[in-house]
Amino acid sequence: MLHILPADAHRHDALIRSPNIPDPDGFYEELIESQRLLTDEAAQLMNCKLILLLANHVGDRAVLTQALKAAGGAVK
């Protein structure tokens, strides 16, 4: 499989904003599907866990701050 990295994927100091998920429709389906049977409360808890797992995976503090901002958070 040919996997072309976006231009900024190797820069650790910037949040990747260009498409980086090889299978966008498949991923989106899996995301929604993973919560289909959950109550709203359980889905919210799962979202929290997901954020924490992914944040740890990213690990870069500056990138995490940029992501909080990009998501509309009130970040100084």
Partner: protein, 535 residues
């Protein structure tokens, strides 16, 4: 309720000045004989300042207050002659366990670094701590500790303050070149100078109970989030001396503090936690609302604030008394140099700079812990629970669990008293940092590095030195040669201070690094001393 402890009653004595109706001006008067005022008295006396301490009461701290004391305050008390006794009487612990709902989610080990004289943490009831210090004060001729002396009012002048004090024999006045206000979170002195004391009070209540039991629990810190025996709230269990255990029950904002304090309401809570067969007796219980607040300026003219009078923190992380003790450790040597005319008065202002920074750091840490323990919104509670659920299986989540970050000293890295490094160093001992201890051997006897410091400025050098002391103005700093005057018994000094032949440190009287170089240069040392006294 039963009692394992008999509160001492210290005798009131009329002072000679009140008896004679004489107005006396003292170099330093300390208001309040809590842990911070008592430490101040011992520190100031050790530095040669005759110190009067006024306390409106005649006993030690009553009931359940501070429990945990960290290494740095223990080192300070050790310098002042009571650290060993506290460690002996106290309970040393290392393991902490965190439970969520029914299960143990993870445990941590404080893993104290080896080869320090003092342990990472001990647990001891606040009344013992104060009792030991009161006894030590009695052995110090420069400490004049006066019970049943209540400060009523205070008037500031150019270079002294007048204090009006009430005793069982009536009201009298005395003067002080410096007043050190250690009169606690509700400080009267703070109101008398009109200082601001601002911050946030947390919308939550805690039942703090001391329970006597011969328990099967190990000597560990156990913290429960949302346990089955106390739903939706947190609980902390900690061991103290004399088979007394501290239990903190989070109650929520709606709890009625008067009702909750009644034994008939407390005992079922403890039974639910310990099981129906547990044999225990209640020793003391209080209900608290916690707050984080700080005074605007630590110095108001001739009045200087320390301890809870200057800053209040929620107890998660045990930062109250621990940080107050470090306040007076910072202040004593500065006051002494200023009183002796060896340093400008601006040196006292650096007390605010350094300790306000530490207070802000402590407040930030305990606010973060409080936000984890008492989430302020449904969403932040979900994040909290997500962290706790992930912690068991996924190691990454464990450092996010915050049931209190235990007190460590705040380094004064940006202090104007530091001489910035011009050479490269590895390790933690940057200028502004509290010195790490290490085992040494002096004249064939085992000892500790910190025991060789703290009388005044000290120059510590690895190997030979061209001088026996360095002088700057009226200050003489003796030179301590590692490898000659004191052997680096286990190599820890070289390791912790990144020491090689020629490496030279200037250490402040409060055992903090002021400057360091890769070679011994008397001019540079002199310059660094001058800088460290704000001259």
């Amino acid at each position: 309720m039963m009692s394992t402890y008999t509160y001492p009653k210290y005798p009131y004595r009329i002072s000679s000045e009140q008896e004679a109706g004489r107005l006396v001006r003292h170099p330093v008067v300390v208001i309040g004989a809590g842990p911070v005022g008592l430490t101040a008295a011992l520190d100031f006396a050790a530095r040669g300042i005759p110190t009067v301490v006024l306390d409106d009461n005649d006993t030690v701290s009553v009931g359940s207050r501070a429990v945990c004391y960290a290494k740095r305050p223990l080192e300070i008390w050790d310098r002042l002659g009571c650290g060993e006794r506290m460690v002996e009487r106290g309970i040393s612990w290392r393991i902490g366990k965190v439970f969520f709902e029914d299960d143990l989610r993870y445990q941590f080990d404080l893993l104290p670094e080896p080869d320090h004289k003092m342990p990472a943490m001990i647990n001891l009831q606040q009344y013992y701590l104060e009792e030991f210090m009161v006894e030590e004060c009695a052995r110090q001729p420069l400490v004049d500790l006066r019970w049943k002396h209540k400060l009523l009012s205070l008037q500031q002048h150019e270079d002294f303050a007048t204090l009006v004090v009430e005793t069982p024999d009536g009201v009298f006045s005395l003067e002080a070149q410096w007043v050190v206000a250690c009169d606690g979170a509700n400080s009267d002195t703070r109101k008398m100078v009109g200082a601001e004391f601002t911050g946030q009070a947390f919308q939550d209540r805690f039942l703090i109970a001391d329970v006597v039991m011969k328990a099967h629990f190990p000597t560990e810190r156990w913290f429960w989030f949302d346990p089955p025996f106390h739903r939706n709230q947190s609980v902390l269990l900690h061991r103290q001396a004399d088979d007394v255990w501290r239990i903190d029950f989070q109650l929520g904002w709606d709890a009625d503090p008067v009702e909750e304090k009644k034994p008939e309401n407390i005992i079922p809570r403890v039974k639910a936690m310990l099981g129906p067969d547990a044999q225990f007796e209640l020793e003391w219980a209080s209900v608290y609302q916690f707050a984080c607040r700080r005074i605007d300026r630590f110095r108001h003219g001739r009045v200087i604030f320390a301890g809870d009078a200057a800053h209040q923190v929620s107890p998660f992380g045990a930062r109250g008394a621990n940080s107050g003790v470090q306040d007076v450790d910072n202040l004593g040597w500065k006051l002494k140099l200023v009183l002796d005319g060896l340093a400008p008065e601006t040196l006292v202002d650096t007390y605010h700079d350094e300790r306000a920074l530490a207070a802000d750091d402590n407040i930030a840490n305990s606010t973060r812990s409080t936000d984890f323990i008492t989430p302020k919104s449904a969403m932040s509670r979900r994040f909290r629970n997500a962290v706790l659920e992930l912690a068991q299986e996924h190691p990454f989540a464990r450092p996010l669990v915050n049931s209190g970050r235990l007190s460590t000293p705040t380094p004064y890295l940006a202090s104007s008293l530091n001489t910035p490094d011009e050479d490269a160093f590895a390790g933690l001992m940057a200028p502004g940092t509290a010195c790490a201890d290490a085992p040494v051997r002096v004249d064939g006897k085992d000892g500790w590095f910190l025991g060789l410091l703290g009388g005044g400025f000290t120059v510590v050098t690895f190997g030979e030195a061209p001088l026996g002391e360095v002088r700057a103005g009226g200050i003489a700093a003796p030179v301590l040669r590692i490898g000659i005057d004191a052997a680096d018994a286990k190599g820890r000094l070289a390791e912790r201070y990144d020491g090689a032949d020629g490496t030279t440190y200037l250490i402040r009287p409060d055992q903090h690094v002021a400057a360091r170089w890769r070679s011994f240069d008397p001019d540079k040392i002199q310059g660094a001393i001058t800088r460290a006294i704000a001259a």
